[in-house]
């Protein structure tokens, strides 16, 4: 007897294959009888379905829906494994009264992020930053000239370009209060560095202490390779504590080389040594750094945090010296008003000893390099070091949106559009800022330091149609010691000698997705 349905055939095969090889013939006959009975029942059911199809009206088409997501079953698993792509970006127009700046568009950055739910309690995050980045082109060749083979290499890129891994970590949540995180992590010093996404802020320029006149050992966004723990600790009616604590390679003095070919044929090389984020390969020093931030949130919308960083900032070829930073930050929300701020103090120990060691090391290296003195000039600059740097920023914001604009082009189809007025006041003091280091042979002959300040006042107005997108305008005035250039103390104002004040109008757009 041949089965009339593939399902019955499949069932038969499975059943037969499941039988032991010594099965009795009578058992097979009994099985065939049962299958025959089942087949008859299936045939009856098929006939009933056919009759119902002929009598029932055609099924209605699926209902139209304006929802952006497909329908979800109520039995969706509570934990899902997936990978989501996101990111943020920002662009700015700036008109300044500085002689060498005038007006310019700046592609601030584009950050591509990925967020993976690997499994319940296991998560991975990655962020790749393209800062002022439009192109990077490398050309190599082996040209033949006059019968001789030469080699050439050229690198082309956009000005002030940076391509960096901003974050890349995996997190294992042991409990709510103990989540282990390892990889490239943001250093938890102050509140800006850990909340640095451009589209989260309502002004089109980052703060001085975090970026423009960095009091942080490394400019934000500052990340390091390391590992540690973070977590939330509820404390009942007193609110909640949040902490982050990591051990990492840590910031270290590192070099960047700038070469200039003069018309006279002389090649000038300037080696700038300044604190940079630590290496992701072999640590340049045999000591690790640590950072810790503890924040207390007594109620939703209110938080105060304290954080610290400590580590060696000199590579192995220089004497061991420490940098330490402390920060206090906070935010409070009072209806439509927000007040947010951050204070950071950084101290570099033993700058004089480091400068002496630097002079000795540079002398030895110049000798090893056998640099032809008549055609090449090498200058060294110990930049960004000060015995003490400290400063703060304070934002006051007011959020509103008039009802009469809700049906206008600014409000229509947006759930909660906002206008935000922001006033920011910033001050930075640089005490014992290293201006010049002179040495003869391996001996330090002079170390020139100075005390400087930079102040900035900003008034901004922003429009947020949705939380992820903001259009920002701002007027800012930046000034420093009378008669001294802003260029020597900021890293973003190309002021000439004596230009101690800058006024700028900014318009920016920042977006996230």
């Amino acid at each position: 007897m041949l089965p009339r349905s593939p399902f019955v055939a499949l069932a038969l095969v499975l059943l037969v294959s499941a039988l032991p090889s010594t099965a009795h013939a009578a058992a097979v006959e009994d099985l065939e009888q049962k299958l025959k009975s089942l087949q008859e029942q299936v045939d009856d059911l098929k006939q009933q379905i056919e009759r119902q199809k002929q009598t029932a009206p055609p099924p209605p088409p699926p209902p139209p829906t304006a929802a952006t997501e497909p329908p979800m079953a109520p039995s969706r698993p509570l934990s899902i494994s997936d990978f989501k792509i996101g990111g943020y970006g920002s662009v700015r127009f700036e008109a300044s009264d500085l002689h060498d700046l005038k007006s310019t568009f700046t592609f601030r950055r584009f950050v591509l992020s990925g967020d993976a739910t690997i499994a319940n309690r296991l998560r991975g995050v990655v962020e790749v930053e393209f800062e002022r980045f439009t192109e990077l082109e490398v050309e190599r060749g082996a040209p033949l000239e006059g019968g001789l083979r030469g080699f050439s290499q050229s690198i082309e890129s956009s000005d002030k370009t940076e391509l960096s891994l901003e974050q890349a970590w995996v997190q294992f949540a042991l409990t709510d209060w103990a989540k282990f995180r390892a990889g490239v992590v943001l250093v938890p010093l102050g509140r800006f560095n850990i909340n640095h996404d451009d589209n989260r802020w309502d002004l089109p320029r980052r703060s001085l202490v975090d970026r423009g006149v960095p009091v942080l050992p490394v400019t934000a966004a500052w990340s390091e390779v390391g590992m540690g723990f973070n977590g939330d600790i509820p404390i009942g009616r007193y609110g909640k504590l949040t902490y982050e604590a990591y051990v990492m390679n840590g910031a270290t003095l590192d070099s960047s080389i700038e070469t200039v070919a003069r018309g006279s044929g002389e090649l000038e090389a300037e080696v700038e040594i300044q604190p940079r984020r630590g290496t992701a390969n072999i640590d340049l020093k045999n000591e690790k750094a640590g950072a810790f931030r503890l924040a207390w949130s007594p109620a939703i919308g209110h938080e105060i945090g304290a954080s610290a960083y400590y580590g060696r900032y000199t590579p192995d070829f220089l004497p061991s010296a420490s940098v330490w930073s402390v920060s206090v930050d906070g935010k409070t929300t009072l209806g439509p008003f927000e007040i947010e701020g951050e204070y950071v103090l950084t101290r570099y120990d033993d700058i004089l000893r480091v400068a002496r060691g630097f002079a000795r090391a540079v002398s030895e290296r110049a000798f090893e390099a056998e640099v032809p003195p008549l055609t090449t000039t090498v200058e060294f600059e110990l930049a960004g070091l000060a015995e003490t740097k400290h400063g703060y920023w304070l934002d006051v914001r007011y959020r509103f949106f008039p009802d009469f604009l809700r049906e206008s082009v600014l409000g229509r189809l947006f759930a909660n559009p906002q206008f935000i007025v922001t006033a920011r006041w910033e001050q930075v003091w640089l005490d014992g800022l290293v201006r010049e280091v002179d040495f003869m042979g391996s001996q330090l002959t002079s170390l020139t330091k100075e005390h400087r300040f930079v102040d900035r006042a900003t008034l901004g107005f922003a429009y947020r149609p949705v939380p992820l997108v903001v259009f920002q305008t701002a007027y800012e005035r930046t000034w420093t010691d009378r008669g001294k250039s802003l260029a020597g103390v900021t890293n973003f104002l190309p002021a000439r000698a004596g230009e101690d004040t800058a006024n700028a109008f900014l318009f920016g757009v920042a977006f996230g997705f």
Partner: protein, 187 residues
Amino acid sequence: MITRRRLLRGATGAWLVLVPGAATGQEGVFLRPEDAPRQLFPDGGDVQERTVEATPALRERVRALLGGPPSLWELAYRIFTVRRAAAPLGFVIVVEEIGKHRPITYAVAVTPTGTVHDLAVLAYREAYGGEVKEPRFLRQYRGKGLSAPLLPYRDIVNISGATLSVEATGRAARKAIAVLRATGDLS
């Protein structure tokens, strides 16, 4: 000096401390739907569950009540009716709304008069913004009805860095009330 005995003792202590915490504090999943009525209505007695299919007609009524579509439609709604001594205490309904990339699953407790009694986040799947599950945040929604905007900086205190999840929570609360009205559970 760390001896082997000390190491074992420390490891055992850490295990005893961490494991109970892990059992209650798993990241992402916080509560099962069937446990939500007891948590949201601790005084409740009898709990009856039913599932209501999200038919086109029901969706149309919900959309009209909300003034627009939600960020996603469920296929069906699990509705728990909670009573105490035969008197209705309220309803608990399981709804979902998109945070930034992923759905957040909520259990919303609604009083018979159509206001939010309480909320619980059953599952949170985003990388950031999990603070919306905290009771001190969810307390803000109590007593608010369908006419309230339930939006940050208007009638809800925002959580910095979690604005999208805060907005999703408001949408979930409003959707829950709208569904209960559309099903006839609320007048």
